[in-house]
């Protein structure tokens, strides 16, 4: 969140939010530890091997996965390569500018760590010739409407896009390996990481902060867990602190929320529409 954005909240709303929080209520009617409504539209981008549009409340993120052939990293000759990148295009927020953005780097690195630490993608199955040729998975995250909590939305988006990803067949006939554009087999998936992001506002903590809450938060904490309920990524940011008790509480809530959220993602991804139907859904969802 850009520094200037902190100022956008009228003080009357600010007071209102703080008052409500004292009674453990939130301005949009949610409970302290309740996510906004999640809607996933899997597979909208035909030219991407995997993709998903995710709406968490009014926060919208589009994620695409491109599969290509490359060289393994020298220190992991027996693994494919996974690269997570986020582009903060100003379509998503009046406070963003064109060009590289350090917040985009942080977002991408946190999503990357959650995917990697959970062992989500079986990278060891994505080597073709050890040390020479492997799959390169580019996960590109484009927020398109920033209404708070981009991290959780982006991780859901990345997870959903990876779940829809197909590994193309390779045609070696010409000497040079070429990708076939027809559908391939699914990407080998071993786990699904789920993150919960908490905002500290005054003495309270809330889950899945909206933009107004982000403007008031003194500190931010993201915890991700794998399906064995092991913690696999943590990221604390912003200029305030947490007590050890805050952290343990956040960890407990994360574990409690993760199971349902993981199931919800799997369900919505499985209900993938086909072709033109996908875009019909998108048009509806974006204008409703």
């Amino acid at each position: 969140m850009a520094e200037e954005e902190r100022k956008i909240i009228p003080s009357i709303i600010k007071e209102n939010i703080l008052e409500l929080l004292k009674e453990e209520k939130r301005i949009d009617g949610r409970k302290l530890f309740e996510f906004r409504k999640l809607r996933i539209i899997p597979g909208p981008i035909e030219k991407a091997e995997g993709s998903a549009l995710v709406l968490l409340g009014n926060t919208k993120v589009l994620v695409g996965v491109k599969m290509s052939l490359g060289k393994p990293f020298p220190d992991t000759p027996n693994e494919g390569v996974l690269v997570v990148n986020a582009e903060f295009q100003p379509v998503a927020s009046p406070y963003w500018e064109l060009g590289p953005n350090e917040y985009a780097i942080e977002l991408a690195r946190v999503v990357d760590r959650a995917i990697r630490s959970s062992g989500m993608v079986a990278l060891d199955e994505l080597v073709i010739h050890p040390g020479e040729l492997c799959w390169v998975i580019n996960v590109d995250i484009y927020p398109i409407d920033d209404n708070g909590n981009l991290i959780d939305t982006a991780l859901i988006g990345a997870v959903a896009a990876l779940l829809t990803t197909r590994v193309p067949e390779i045609d070696f006939s010409s000497g040079k390996p070429q990708l076939k554009r027809e559908e391939g087999k699914p990407l080998p998936i071993r786990d699904i990481p789920i993150s919960c992001t908490f905002a500290k506002i005054g003495e309270q903590m809330v889950l899945d902060p909206n933009k107004q809450e982000e403007c008031l938060m003194s500190a931010r904490l993201t915890i991700a867990v794998n399906s064995a309920n092991e913690i696999c990524t943590i990221q604390k940011m912003k200029g305030g602190g947490f007590t050890i008790d805050d952290i343990i509480r956040a960890k407990d809530i994360t574990i409690q929320k993760a199971k349902d959220l993981r199931r919800e993602i799997q369900k919505q991804v499985a209900e993938k529409a086909r072709g033109e139907e996908i875009w019909k859904e998108i048009r509806e969802v974006l204008t409703s």
Binding site: G64, K66, N85, P90, P94, N138, Y142, D146, N147
Partner: protein, 245 residues
């Protein structure tokens, strides 16, 4: 394979996807699709999908870029990395930089920039999926997003590409046609004035066919214009409904 080497029209002058020469792909226009932008639109020509967001008139940063006598119109046209078969690198290409300028010059005649000295009007176009005609799709989206932002306009800017296969003029080229047709001519017009605000061409075209292409474009653009008007009305209706509720 090069321009002209793929058969793009069959004996019945049907195109590779079954369209008639002067038939566009299915077009969808949705206005007001984003929450944070002052104005926004999602426009689709077949598989080509472009999202546009508009901000402004607003303050210019850094200040020394502001113009004393009129608003600064800043346009960016960018392709998502996954919008093409080969992943596009995220750093803007020379093509993206040029098209940003060309699109700005297509939109400017519709605006009263002189009414907003020292301000900026910012237009961001993001190509979500690219299947030919991305710049014209972006112009349609930008025009709608500007209107959605409530920025006073002389008219709407409507765009389409026309091209040539042999002696036949085709409209709304998709990616295959973009690559193999003998010429490709994106064109934008301000409506209802029917003033040309963007015109580019690649490939070759005889003077005679060129005039025919301009006329064909004008006919098609009149239809696209009516789609823009319809999309704005839908949006207004929905907005009013929301207020009433």
């Amino acid at each position: 394979m090069k321009k002209g080497e793929v058969q793009l029209l069959d004996e019945q002058k049907r195109r590779h996807d079954g369209r008639a020469p002067n038939e566009t792909r299915p077009i969808s226009m949705k206005v007001g699709v984003l929450d944070r932008a002052d104005g926004s639109a999602l426009v689709e020509f077949g598989k080509t999908k472009v999202l546009a967001a508009v901000y402004g008139p607003r303050e210019v940063h850094p200040r020394h870029l502001a113009l004393p006598d009129r608003a600064l119109l800043r346009v960016s046209y960018r392709m998502a990395t996954f919008s093409t078969w080969e992943r596009k690198r995220p750093t803007p290409s020379r093509r993206e930089i040029e098209l940003s300028m060309v699109i700005a010059s297509a939109l400017e005649p519709a605006l009263f920039l002189e009414k907003y000295p020292k301000c900026a009007i910012d237009v961001f176009c993001l190509v979500i999926e690219a299947d030919g005609g991305t710049r014209t799709t972006a112009i349609n989206a930008a025009s709608l997003a500007l209107a959605d932002a409530g920025i006073p306009m002389r008219g709407l800017v409507v765009a389409i590409a026309v091209g040539r296969v042999g002696d036949t003029i085709i409209v709304d080229l998709d990616e295959v046609e973009d690559n193999y047709a003998e010429s490709d001519m994106p064109i934008a017009m301000l409506f209802p004035q029917e003033e040309i605000t963007l015109l580019q061409m690649d490939g070759t075209m005889s003077p005679h066919l060129f005039e025919q292409a301009l006329e064909t474009a004008r006919q098609v653009l009149r239809n696209v214009y009516s789609l823009q008007v319809k999309a704005l009305k839908e949006r207004a209706l929905k907005a009013r409904t929301k207020v009433v509720l």
